[in-house]
Protein backbone atom coordinates (compact mmCIF):
# COMPACT_ATOMS: atom_id res chain seq x y z
CA UNK A 1 0.00 0.00 0.00
CA UNK A 2 0.95 3.57 -0.48
CA UNK A 3 2.73 5.31 2.40
CA UNK A 4 0.19 8.14 2.65
CA UNK A 5 -2.68 5.72 2.58
CA UNK A 6 -1.26 3.75 5.49
CA UNK A 7 -0.63 6.91 7.50
CA UNK A 8 -4.22 8.02 6.94
CA UNK A 9 -5.61 4.61 7.80
CA UNK A 10 -3.60 4.34 11.01
CA UNK A 11 -4.11 7.94 12.09
CA UNK A 12 -7.78 7.86 11.23
CA UNK A 13 -8.30 4.67 13.19
CA UNK A 14 -6.53 6.19 16.21
CA UNK A 15 -8.61 9.38 16.13
CA UNK A 16 -11.85 7.50 15.65
CA UNK A 17 -10.96 5.23 18.54
CA UNK A 18 -10.24 8.30 20.71
CA UNK A 19 -13.59 9.75 19.76
CA UNK A 20 -15.38 6.62 20.89
CA UNK A 21 -13.37 6.59 24.14
CA UNK A 22 -14.15 10.28 24.66
CA UNK A 23 -17.87 9.58 24.29
CA UNK A 24 -17.57 6.82 26.87
CA UNK A 25 -15.66 9.12 29.27
CA UNK A 26 -18.37 11.73 28.86
CA UNK A 27 -21.11 9.24 29.69
CA UNK A 28 -19.33 7.92 32.78
CA UNK A 29 -18.33 11.44 33.79
CA UNK A 30 -14.57 11.04 33.99
CA UNK A 31 -11.69 12.83 32.30
CA UNK A 32 -10.82 11.29 28.91
CA UNK A 33 -7.07 11.70 29.56
CA UNK A 34 -6.56 8.30 31.26
CA UNK A 35 -8.46 6.62 28.42
CA UNK A 36 -6.30 8.34 25.80
CA UNK A 37 -3.22 7.11 27.64
CA UNK A 38 -4.61 3.58 27.69
CA UNK A 39 -5.32 3.82 23.96
CA UNK A 40 -1.73 4.88 23.36
CA UNK A 41 -0.50 1.94 25.43
CA UNK A 42 -2.64 -0.45 23.40
CA UNK A 43 -1.29 0.83 20.08
CA UNK A 44 2.38 1.48 20.68
CA UNK A 45 5.56 -0.36 21.42
CA UNK A 46 4.69 -3.81 22.68
CA UNK A 47 0.99 -3.03 22.43
CA UNK A 48 -1.81 -4.96 20.78
CA UNK A 49 -1.67 -3.11 17.45
CA UNK A 50 1.75 -1.53 16.86
CA UNK A 51 1.57 1.54 14.62
CA UNK A 52 4.60 1.43 12.37
CA UNK A 53 4.10 4.06 9.72
CA UNK A 54 2.29 6.95 11.32
CA UNK A 55 4.39 7.17 14.47
CA UNK A 56 6.57 9.92 13.05
CA UNK A 57 3.52 11.94 12.03
CA UNK A 58 1.97 11.40 15.44
CA UNK A 59 5.16 12.52 17.18
CA UNK A 60 5.04 15.91 15.41
CA UNK A 61 1.36 16.15 16.24
CA UNK A 62 2.21 15.46 19.87
CA UNK A 63 4.74 18.32 19.95
CA UNK A 64 2.07 20.60 18.49
CA UNK A 65 -0.29 19.33 21.17
CA UNK A 66 2.07 20.42 23.95
CA UNK A 67 2.47 23.88 22.42
CA UNK A 68 -1.30 24.30 22.05
CA UNK A 69 -1.99 22.96 25.56
CA UNK A 70 0.38 25.48 27.07
CA UNK A 71 -0.77 28.33 24.82
CA UNK A 72 -4.42 27.88 25.83
CA UNK A 73 -3.38 27.51 29.46
CA UNK A 74 -1.55 30.84 29.23
CA UNK A 75 -4.64 32.40 27.65
CA UNK A 76 -6.66 31.45 30.74
CA UNK A 77 -4.74 33.90 32.86
CA UNK A 78 -3.85 37.53 32.46
CA UNK A 79 -0.47 38.75 33.67
CA UNK A 80 -2.28 40.76 36.37
CA UNK A 81 -3.91 37.65 37.77
CA UNK A 82 -0.57 35.88 37.89
CA UNK A 83 1.09 38.67 39.81
CA UNK A 84 -1.86 39.10 42.22
CA UNK A 85 -2.08 35.43 43.05
CA UNK A 86 1.68 35.27 43.43
CA UNK A 87 1.53 38.04 46.03
CA UNK A 88 -1.45 36.74 47.96
CA UNK A 89 -0.72 33.04 48.00
CA UNK A 90 3.03 32.70 47.98
CA UNK A 91 3.10 30.82 51.30
CA UNK A 92 0.43 28.30 50.32
CA UNK A 93 2.06 27.97 46.91
CA UNK A 94 5.41 27.13 48.48
CA UNK A 95 3.79 24.59 50.82
CA UNK A 96 2.14 23.04 47.76
CA UNK A 97 5.48 22.90 45.96
CA UNK A 98 7.44 21.36 48.84
CA UNK A 99 4.78 18.84 49.92
CA UNK A 100 3.99 17.59 46.44
CA UNK A 101 7.37 17.67 44.75
CA UNK A 102 8.95 15.72 47.60
CA UNK A 103 7.27 12.31 47.03
CA UNK A 104 8.39 12.15 43.38
CA UNK A 105 11.93 13.25 44.13
CA UNK A 106 12.27 10.86 47.07
CA UNK A 107 10.83 8.00 45.02
CA UNK A 108 13.29 8.58 42.16
CA UNK A 109 16.21 8.72 44.58
CA UNK A 110 15.08 5.56 46.40
CA UNK A 111 14.85 3.74 43.08
CA UNK A 112 18.39 4.94 42.33
CA UNK A 113 17.53 6.93 39.22
CA UNK A 114 19.84 9.80 40.08
CA UNK A 115 19.31 13.52 40.76
CA UNK A 116 18.12 14.56 37.26
CA UNK A 117 15.35 11.98 37.26
CA UNK A 118 14.49 13.12 40.79
CA UNK A 119 13.92 16.65 39.51
CA UNK A 120 11.73 15.30 36.71
CA UNK A 121 9.73 13.05 39.04
CA UNK A 122 9.30 15.98 41.45
CA UNK A 123 7.51 17.79 38.63
CA UNK A 124 5.43 14.73 37.79
CA UNK A 125 4.02 14.46 41.31
CA UNK A 126 3.78 18.22 41.92
CA UNK A 127 1.43 19.74 39.39
CA UNK A 128 -2.34 19.44 39.68
CA UNK A 129 -4.10 19.28 36.34
CA UNK A 130 -5.74 22.70 36.14
CA UNK A 131 -7.92 21.44 33.30
CA UNK A 132 -9.37 18.49 35.22
CA UNK A 133 -9.56 20.46 38.49
CA UNK A 134 -11.50 23.28 36.82
CA UNK A 135 -13.87 20.73 35.33
CA UNK A 136 -14.40 19.05 38.71
CA UNK A 137 -15.18 22.42 40.32
CA UNK A 138 -17.64 23.26 37.58
CA UNK A 139 -19.31 19.83 37.38
CA UNK A 140 -19.88 19.55 41.12
CA UNK A 141 -21.16 23.10 41.42
CA UNK A 142 -18.19 24.10 43.59
CA UNK A 143 -17.33 27.22 41.59
CA UNK A 144 -19.23 29.49 43.96
CA UNK A 145 -17.78 27.84 47.07
CA UNK A 146 -15.71 30.04 49.32
CA UNK A 147 -12.65 27.76 49.16
CA UNK A 148 -12.60 27.84 45.36
CA UNK A 149 -10.58 31.07 44.91
CA UNK A 150 -7.88 29.47 47.06
CA UNK A 151 -7.83 26.37 44.85
CA UNK A 152 -7.69 28.45 41.67
CA UNK A 153 -4.90 30.64 43.04
CA UNK A 154 -2.88 27.54 43.82
CA UNK A 155 -3.39 26.34 40.24
CA UNK A 156 -2.18 29.69 38.93
CA UNK A 157 0.82 29.52 41.23
CA UNK A 158 1.65 26.03 39.98
CA UNK A 159 1.42 27.06 36.36
CA UNK A 160 3.72 29.99 36.99
CA UNK A 161 6.14 27.72 38.83
CA UNK A 162 6.11 25.52 35.72
CA UNK A 163 7.28 28.46 33.64
CA UNK A 164 10.42 28.50 35.78
CA UNK A 165 10.67 24.76 36.34
CA UNK A 166 10.47 23.59 32.71
CA UNK A 167 13.54 25.55 31.54
CA UNK A 168 15.52 24.27 34.52
CA UNK A 169 14.45 20.70 33.77
CA UNK A 170 15.23 21.10 30.06
CA UNK A 171 18.73 22.31 30.90
CA UNK A 172 19.30 19.45 33.35
CA UNK A 173 18.00 16.85 30.90
CA UNK A 174 20.25 18.19 28.16
CA UNK A 175 23.07 16.95 30.41
CA UNK A 176 24.93 20.20 30.26
CA UNK A 177 27.96 20.77 32.44
CA UNK A 178 27.42 22.70 35.64
CA UNK A 179 28.71 25.99 34.20
CA UNK A 180 26.83 25.93 30.90
CA UNK A 181 23.83 24.44 32.66
CA UNK A 182 23.80 27.34 35.08
CA UNK A 183 24.15 29.73 32.14
CA UNK A 184 21.17 28.13 30.39
CA UNK A 185 19.06 28.30 33.52
CA UNK A 186 20.12 31.93 33.89
CA UNK A 187 19.08 32.67 30.30
CA UNK A 188 15.81 30.86 30.92
CA UNK A 189 14.99 32.82 34.05
CA UNK A 190 15.90 36.13 32.41
CA UNK A 191 13.80 35.27 29.34
CA UNK A 192 10.80 34.29 31.44
CA UNK A 193 11.02 37.45 33.56
CA UNK A 194 11.52 39.68 30.50
CA UNK A 195 8.53 38.17 28.73
CA UNK A 196 6.40 38.52 31.87
CA UNK A 197 7.36 42.18 32.24
CA UNK A 198 6.73 42.79 28.53
CA UNK A 199 3.36 41.06 28.84
CA UNK A 200 2.44 43.16 31.87
CA UNK A 201 3.58 46.49 30.49
CA UNK A 202 3.31 46.17 26.73
CA UNK A 203 0.79 43.34 26.32
CA UNK A 204 -1.55 45.75 24.54
CA UNK A 205 0.98 46.29 21.72
CA UNK A 206 1.18 42.56 21.09
CA UNK A 207 -2.59 42.47 21.24
CA UNK A 208 -2.85 45.36 18.79
CA UNK A 209 -0.61 43.45 16.39
CA UNK A 210 -2.44 40.16 16.73
CA UNK A 211 -6.03 41.45 16.91
CA UNK A 212 -8.18 40.97 13.86
CA UNK A 213 -11.93 40.91 13.31
CA UNK A 214 -11.41 37.94 11.01
CA UNK A 215 -11.13 34.70 12.95
CA UNK A 216 -8.96 33.06 10.28
CA UNK A 217 -6.37 35.83 10.44
CA UNK A 218 -6.47 35.80 14.25
CA UNK A 219 -5.96 32.04 14.36
CA UNK A 220 -3.00 32.13 11.97
CA UNK A 221 -1.35 35.05 13.75
CA UNK A 222 -1.68 33.55 17.24
CA UNK A 223 -0.60 30.04 16.31
CA UNK A 224 2.22 31.45 14.19
CA UNK A 225 3.44 33.68 16.99
CA UNK A 226 3.20 30.86 19.53
CA UNK A 227 5.16 28.44 17.35
CA UNK A 228 7.80 31.07 16.57
CA UNK A 229 8.33 31.90 20.23
CA UNK A 230 8.20 28.19 21.12
CA UNK A 231 10.90 27.45 18.55
CA UNK A 232 12.98 30.36 19.76
CA UNK A 233 12.60 29.18 23.35
CA UNK A 234 13.62 25.67 22.36
CA UNK A 235 16.73 27.02 20.64
CA UNK A 236 17.64 28.85 23.84
CA UNK A 237 17.04 25.56 25.74
CA UNK A 238 14.14 27.23 27.57
CA UNK A 239 11.63 24.59 26.45
CA UNK A 240 9.13 25.20 23.68
CA UNK A 241 6.20 24.69 26.06
CA UNK A 242 7.22 27.67 28.17
CA UNK A 243 7.50 29.90 25.11
CA UNK A 244 3.94 29.07 24.10
CA UNK A 245 2.72 29.56 27.69
CA UNK A 246 4.25 33.04 27.79
CA UNK A 247 2.62 34.03 24.50
CA UNK A 248 -0.70 32.96 26.02
CA UNK A 249 -0.11 35.12 29.09
CA UNK A 250 0.80 38.16 26.99
CA UNK A 251 -2.67 38.09 25.42
CA UNK A 252 -5.59 38.97 27.70
CA UNK A 253 -9.14 40.25 27.84
CA UNK A 254 -11.59 39.80 25.00
CA UNK A 255 -8.81 38.87 22.58
CA UNK A 256 -7.70 36.01 24.81
CA UNK A 257 -11.27 34.84 25.11
CA UNK A 258 -11.82 34.89 21.33
CA UNK A 259 -8.52 33.14 20.69
CA UNK A 260 -9.26 30.45 23.22
CA UNK A 261 -12.60 29.70 21.62
CA UNK A 262 -10.87 29.46 18.24
CA UNK A 263 -8.03 27.30 19.49
CA UNK A 264 -10.04 24.87 21.59
CA UNK A 265 -10.96 22.38 18.83
CA UNK A 266 -7.40 22.46 17.50
CA UNK A 267 -5.99 21.96 20.99
CA UNK A 268 -8.36 19.10 21.77
CA UNK A 269 -7.28 17.31 18.60
CA UNK A 270 -3.54 17.64 19.11
CA UNK A 271 -3.63 17.24 22.90
CA UNK A 272 -5.37 13.90 22.39
CA UNK A 273 -2.63 12.98 19.93
CA UNK A 274 -0.07 13.98 22.55
CA UNK A 275 -1.53 11.70 25.22
CA UNK A 276 -1.69 8.85 22.73
CA UNK A 277 1.89 9.48 21.69
CA UNK A 278 3.07 9.29 25.28
CA UNK A 279 1.21 6.02 25.62
CA UNK A 280 2.72 4.82 22.33
CA UNK A 281 6.23 5.31 23.67
CA UNK A 282 5.43 3.41 26.83
CA UNK A 283 5.64 -0.35 26.78
CA UNK A 284 2.55 -1.67 28.58
CA UNK A 285 4.54 -4.70 29.74
CA UNK A 286 6.71 -2.31 31.77
CA UNK A 287 3.77 -0.84 33.66
CA UNK A 288 3.01 -3.90 35.73
CA UNK A 289 6.43 -4.03 37.48
CA UNK A 290 6.11 -0.35 38.49
CA UNK A 291 2.43 -0.62 39.47
CA UNK A 292 3.33 -1.02 43.16
CA UNK A 293 5.49 2.12 43.44
CA UNK A 294 3.01 4.01 41.25
CA UNK A 295 0.10 3.13 43.55
CA UNK A 296 2.11 4.12 46.61
CA UNK A 297 3.15 7.34 44.92
CA UNK A 298 -0.43 8.08 43.93
CA UNK A 299 -1.56 7.49 47.51
CA UNK A 300 1.15 9.83 48.78
CA UNK A 301 0.13 12.32 46.10
CA UNK A 302 -3.45 12.31 47.36
CA UNK A 303 -2.42 12.81 50.97
CA UNK A 304 -0.04 15.66 50.16
CA UNK A 305 -2.64 17.47 48.05
CA UNK A 306 -5.25 17.03 50.80
CA UNK A 307 -2.78 18.54 53.27
CA UNK A 308 -1.98 21.37 50.85
CA UNK A 309 -5.66 22.13 50.30
CA UNK A 310 -6.38 22.06 54.03
CA UNK A 311 -3.44 24.36 54.78
CA UNK A 312 -4.28 26.89 52.06
CA UNK A 313 -8.02 26.91 52.82
CA UNK A 314 -7.46 27.25 56.57
CA UNK A 315 -5.30 30.31 55.90
CA UNK A 316 -8.21 31.76 53.95
CA UNK A 317 -10.51 31.21 56.96
CA UNK A 318 -12.41 28.27 55.50
CA UNK A 319 -14.04 25.71 57.81
CA UNK A 320 -13.12 22.00 57.95
CA UNK A 321 -15.49 20.77 55.24
CA UNK A 322 -14.26 23.42 52.82
CA UNK A 323 -10.64 22.54 53.64
CA UNK A 324 -11.33 18.94 52.67
CA UNK A 325 -13.01 20.01 49.43
CA UNK A 326 -10.03 22.23 48.54
CA UNK A 327 -7.70 19.27 48.97
CA UNK A 328 -9.89 16.93 46.93
CA UNK A 329 -10.16 19.40 44.07
CA UNK A 330 -6.37 19.50 43.89
CA UNK A 331 -5.88 15.72 43.58
CA UNK A 332 -6.25 15.20 39.80
CA UNK A 333 -3.01 15.10 37.82
CA UNK A 334 -2.96 15.17 34.05
CA UNK A 335 -1.48 17.03 31.13
CA UNK A 336 1.43 18.82 32.80
CA UNK A 337 2.69 15.72 34.52
CA UNK A 338 2.73 13.86 31.23
CA UNK A 339 4.41 16.82 29.51
CA UNK A 340 7.18 16.67 32.11
CA UNK A 341 7.54 12.90 31.88
CA UNK A 342 7.50 13.23 28.09
CA UNK A 343 10.44 15.64 28.21
CA UNK A 344 12.36 13.27 30.47
CA UNK A 345 11.61 10.24 28.30
CA UNK A 346 12.63 12.10 25.13
CA UNK A 347 15.94 13.03 26.78
CA UNK A 348 16.58 9.37 27.62
CA UNK A 349 15.82 9.26 31.32
CA UNK A 350 15.55 5.94 33.19
CA UNK A 351 13.38 3.51 31.15
CA UNK A 352 11.01 2.99 34.06
CA UNK A 353 10.25 6.72 34.44
CA UNK A 354 7.76 6.79 31.56
CA UNK A 355 5.71 3.79 32.73
CA UNK A 356 5.75 5.00 36.34
CA UNK A 357 4.53 8.47 35.36
CA UNK A 358 1.90 6.95 33.07
CA UNK A 359 0.57 4.70 35.84
CA UNK A 360 0.64 7.58 38.33
CA UNK A 361 -1.34 9.90 36.07
CA UNK A 362 -3.68 7.06 35.07
CA UNK A 363 -4.59 6.53 38.72
CA UNK A 364 -4.91 10.18 39.73
CA UNK A 365 -6.55 11.54 36.58
CA UNK A 366 -9.22 8.87 36.86
CA UNK A 367 -9.52 8.70 40.62
CA UNK A 368 -9.32 12.43 41.45
CA UNK A 369 -12.65 13.47 39.90
CA UNK A 370 -14.28 10.24 41.04
CA UNK A 371 -13.13 10.80 44.64
CA UNK A 372 -14.55 14.29 44.56
CA UNK A 373 -17.91 13.00 43.39
CA UNK A 374 -18.04 10.18 45.95
CA UNK A 375 -16.80 12.16 48.93
CA UNK A 376 -18.98 15.23 48.38
CA UNK A 377 -22.14 13.88 50.12
CA UNK A 378 -20.03 12.48 52.94
CA UNK A 379 -18.42 15.84 53.71
CA UNK A 380 -21.78 17.55 53.61
CA UNK A 381 -23.29 15.01 55.98
CA UNK A 382 -20.41 15.36 58.44
CA UNK A 383 -20.55 19.15 58.26
CA UNK A 384 -24.30 19.06 58.92
CA UNK A 385 -23.87 16.94 62.01
CA UNK A 386 -21.11 19.10 63.44
Amino acid sequence: MQHTAIVFLEFGAVLLGLGVLGAFALRVGISPIPLYLLAGLAFGTGGVVPLATSQEFISVGAELGVVLLLLTLGLEYSADELVTSLRGNATSGLVDLVLNAAPGAVCALLLGWGPVAAVAMAGVTYATSSGIAAKVLSDLGWLGNRETPTVLSLLVFEDLTMALYLPVLTALLAGLSLASGAATVGIALVTVSVVLVVALRYGRFIEAFVASPNSEVLLLKVVGLALLVAGLAQTLQVSAAVGAFLVGIALSGQLAHDTRTLLEPLRDLFAAVFFVFFGLQTDPAKILPVAGPAALLAFAGMITKLLTGAFAARRAGIAKAGQARAGIALIPRGEFNIVIAGLAVAAGAHPDLGPLAAAYVLILAAFGPLAAKLVQPLITAVARRA
Partner: protein, 164 residues
Amino acid sequence: MGRTVDIEQTALPGIGLRHEFTTQSGKRVGVVSHRTGRRDLVIYDKDDPDRVCETVRLNDEEAEALVELLGAPRIVQRLNELHQQVEGLVSLQLPIPPGSPYVGRPMGDARVRTRTSASIVAVVRGGTVFASPGPAFVFAANDIVVVVGGADSTAEVADILARG
Protein backbone atom coordinates in the same frame (compact mmCIF):
# COMPACT_ATOMS: atom_id res chain seq x y z
CA MET B 1 -33.88 52.10 53.99
CA GLY B 2 -30.60 52.95 55.67
CA ARG B 3 -28.69 49.63 55.55
CA THR B 4 -26.45 49.32 52.54
CA VAL B 5 -25.61 45.85 51.28
CA ASP B 6 -21.99 44.83 51.68
CA ILE B 7 -21.09 43.08 48.46
CA GLU B 8 -17.90 41.05 48.56
CA GLN B 9 -16.04 40.70 45.28
CA THR B 10 -13.60 37.83 44.71
CA ALA B 11 -11.53 37.14 41.62
CA LEU B 12 -11.67 33.58 40.28
CA PRO B 13 -8.48 33.32 38.20
CA GLY B 14 -9.15 31.71 34.84
CA ILE B 15 -12.91 31.76 35.34
CA GLY B 16 -14.19 35.22 36.19
CA LEU B 17 -15.59 37.01 39.22
CA ARG B 18 -17.76 36.18 42.19
CA HIS B 19 -19.96 38.64 44.09
CA GLU B 20 -21.75 37.68 47.27
CA PHE B 21 -23.61 39.18 50.19
CA THR B 22 -25.65 38.13 53.23
CA THR B 23 -29.31 39.06 53.36
CA GLN B 24 -30.91 40.53 56.46
CA SER B 25 -32.50 37.14 57.16
CA GLY B 26 -29.05 35.54 57.21
CA LYS B 27 -29.09 33.83 53.81
CA ARG B 28 -25.95 34.14 51.76
CA VAL B 29 -26.36 34.59 48.01
CA GLY B 30 -23.88 35.26 45.23
CA VAL B 31 -23.33 35.52 41.52
CA VAL B 32 -20.47 33.84 39.67
CA SER B 33 -19.78 35.79 36.48
CA HIS B 34 -17.92 33.67 33.96
CA ARG B 35 -15.82 35.35 31.30
CA THR B 36 -17.81 33.46 28.73
CA GLY B 37 -20.89 35.46 29.71
CA ARG B 38 -22.46 32.63 31.70
CA ARG B 39 -23.88 33.66 35.07
CA ASP B 40 -24.45 31.36 38.02
CA LEU B 41 -26.81 32.47 40.75
CA VAL B 42 -25.63 30.65 43.87
CA ILE B 43 -27.13 30.17 47.32
CA TYR B 44 -24.95 29.10 50.23
CA ASP B 45 -25.64 26.24 52.61
CA LYS B 46 -26.77 27.31 56.08
CA ASP B 47 -24.89 24.48 57.79
CA ASP B 48 -21.69 24.86 55.78
CA PRO B 49 -21.40 28.52 54.80
CA ASP B 50 -18.44 27.79 52.52
CA ARG B 51 -20.53 25.51 50.31
CA VAL B 52 -22.96 26.39 47.57
CA CYS B 53 -26.10 24.26 47.95
CA GLU B 54 -27.97 25.59 44.94
CA THR B 55 -26.60 26.79 41.60
CA VAL B 56 -28.87 28.34 38.99
CA ARG B 57 -27.18 28.61 35.64
CA LEU B 58 -28.37 31.62 33.61
CA ASN B 59 -27.62 32.59 30.03
CA ASP B 60 -27.48 36.24 28.90
CA GLU B 61 -31.20 36.61 28.27
CA GLU B 62 -32.23 34.88 31.49
CA ALA B 63 -29.83 37.00 33.55
CA GLU B 64 -31.24 40.14 31.96
CA ALA B 65 -34.81 39.02 32.63
CA LEU B 66 -33.97 38.43 36.29
CA VAL B 67 -32.32 41.84 36.56
CA GLU B 68 -35.43 43.49 35.17
CA LEU B 69 -37.71 41.63 37.52
CA LEU B 70 -35.64 42.52 40.56
CA GLY B 71 -34.36 45.93 39.50
CA ALA B 72 -37.37 47.77 38.04
CA PRO B 73 -39.03 49.05 41.20
CA ARG B 74 -35.66 49.65 42.83
CA ILE B 75 -34.44 52.20 40.32
CA VAL B 76 -37.44 54.47 40.78
CA GLN B 77 -37.25 54.02 44.54
CA ARG B 78 -33.57 54.89 44.56
CA LEU B 79 -34.26 58.02 42.53
CA ASN B 80 -36.83 59.12 45.04
CA GLU B 81 -34.29 58.64 47.81
CA LEU B 82 -31.79 60.64 45.81
CA HIS B 83 -34.37 63.37 45.52
CA GLN B 84 -34.71 63.54 49.28
CA GLN B 85 -31.01 63.36 49.93
CA VAL B 86 -29.58 66.00 47.64
CA GLU B 87 -30.63 69.58 48.17
CA GLY B 88 -31.52 71.31 44.91
CA LEU B 89 -31.59 68.12 42.83
CA VAL B 90 -34.97 67.14 41.51
CA SER B 91 -36.05 63.88 39.95
CA LEU B 92 -39.36 63.94 38.13
CA GLN B 93 -41.39 61.23 36.49
CA LEU B 94 -42.86 62.87 33.39
CA PRO B 95 -45.41 61.15 31.16
CA ILE B 96 -45.22 61.35 27.38
CA PRO B 97 -48.76 62.40 26.52
CA PRO B 98 -50.28 60.72 23.45
CA GLY B 99 -50.24 64.09 21.67
CA SER B 100 -46.53 64.70 22.29
CA PRO B 101 -44.45 65.48 19.17
CA TYR B 102 -41.87 62.92 20.33
CA VAL B 103 -44.13 59.85 20.22
CA GLY B 104 -42.45 57.41 17.84
CA ARG B 105 -39.32 59.55 17.59
CA PRO B 106 -35.86 58.81 19.03
CA MET B 107 -34.93 60.46 22.30
CA GLY B 108 -31.98 62.21 20.66
CA ASP B 109 -34.42 64.41 18.68
CA ALA B 110 -35.61 66.12 21.86
CA ARG B 111 -32.00 67.20 22.70
CA VAL B 112 -33.05 67.39 26.32
CA ARG B 113 -29.63 67.66 27.88
CA THR B 114 -28.40 70.33 25.45
CA ARG B 115 -31.48 72.44 25.86
CA THR B 116 -32.09 72.13 29.61
CA SER B 117 -28.96 70.50 31.16
CA ALA B 118 -31.25 67.96 32.87
CA SER B 119 -30.71 64.23 32.18
CA ILE B 120 -33.10 61.48 31.28
CA VAL B 121 -31.92 58.58 33.44
CA ALA B 122 -34.65 56.02 32.74
CA VAL B 123 -37.86 55.38 30.88
CA VAL B 124 -40.62 53.28 32.42
CA ARG B 125 -42.90 51.54 29.96
CA GLY B 126 -45.66 49.25 31.21
CA GLY B 127 -43.81 48.21 34.35
CA THR B 128 -40.46 47.70 32.62
CA VAL B 129 -37.63 50.12 33.32
CA PHE B 130 -35.20 51.02 30.54
CA ALA B 131 -32.27 52.35 32.54
CA SER B 132 -29.98 55.00 30.96
CA PRO B 133 -31.60 54.96 27.51
CA GLY B 134 -29.40 56.06 24.61
CA PRO B 135 -30.23 58.80 22.07
CA ALA B 136 -31.60 56.13 19.72
CA PHE B 137 -34.27 55.07 22.24
CA VAL B 138 -37.70 55.61 20.64
CA PHE B 139 -40.44 57.11 22.82
CA ALA B 140 -43.94 55.68 22.85
CA ALA B 141 -47.14 57.30 24.09
CA ASN B 142 -47.67 56.94 27.86
CA ASP B 143 -43.98 56.25 28.57
CA ILE B 144 -42.89 57.66 31.92
CA VAL B 145 -39.61 59.54 31.58
CA VAL B 146 -37.48 59.86 34.71
CA VAL B 147 -35.55 63.13 34.63
CA VAL B 148 -32.89 64.33 37.05
CA GLY B 149 -31.66 67.92 37.27
CA GLY B 150 -32.30 71.30 38.84
CA ALA B 151 -35.87 72.46 39.60
CA ASP B 152 -35.99 74.83 36.60
CA SER B 153 -34.44 72.52 34.05
CA THR B 154 -36.65 69.54 34.94
CA ALA B 155 -39.71 71.76 34.55
CA GLU B 156 -38.42 72.77 31.11
CA VAL B 157 -38.15 69.11 30.18
CA ALA B 158 -41.81 68.62 31.05
CA ASP B 159 -42.60 71.44 28.63
CA ILE B 160 -40.45 70.01 25.87
CA LEU B 161 -41.95 66.55 26.14
CA ALA B 162 -45.50 67.89 26.09
CA ARG B 163 -45.16 70.54 23.38
CA GLY B 164 -41.82 70.08 21.63
